[in-house]
Subunit: 107 residues, 2 copies
């Protein structure tokens, strides 16, 4: 992704009683979101947490999902009208509350 693009990330906390259905997330949720937001989405990535800073430390996040947009406006315009549908799908793959962040691509 190019410098200046907007990256919208959802960090799903690991540990405790937290659950995360990676299969559902990759094969149902992300395609659904990409379909709802359409051309505004310039890319989507998903990663699965393996370990933390030391080999025996648990990963901070069980999963991280990222969507790329050309601008904050492009994100807001496409996401706003679909946020209810997107958030309503959350219980289908996790019982955790994701940390959300909007970032700017530097490199």
């Amino acid at each position: 992704m190019k410098k200046g693009m907007i990256k919208v990330s959802a960090f799903y906390p690991n540990g405790g009683d937290n659950t995360f259905d990676m299969d559902y997330y990759c094969n149902k949720h992300v395609p659904m979101v990409a379909g709802l937001l359409g051309d505004a989405v310039k890319g989507a990535t998903v990663e699965k947490g393996l370990v933390g800073g030391t080999p025996k430390a648990p990963a901070e996040y069980a999963a991280i999902g990222n969507l790329y947009f050309d601008s904050i406006e492009a994100f807001e315009n496409s996401f706003g009208a679909n946020s209810d549908a997107i958030m309503a799908d959350l219980p289908n793959y996790t019982n955790s509350e994701p940390v959300l962040q909007i970032s700017e691509v530097m490199i």
Copy 2:
């Protein structure tokens, strides 16, 4: 990046008295790390946190840096010998302690 690759992320906490020199990080630290680790690094990305889950919420992380490797072994073999030099550069761009995580690329 391809499914199955290893993504090593450093999340630099935002807020409080935390400082982060994005210019140094992008133009000195990341190139230094990439140079030390050589061909094992298959890609590097950096993002700057803008806002959190709502427009007025601060970003959880001031910056996130990511390196991609073909395998955990490739990361360990290249990083292990250089970890002291890499960690010694930390005070040159931040006073915060990054959250580290190794993830697997799913999408």
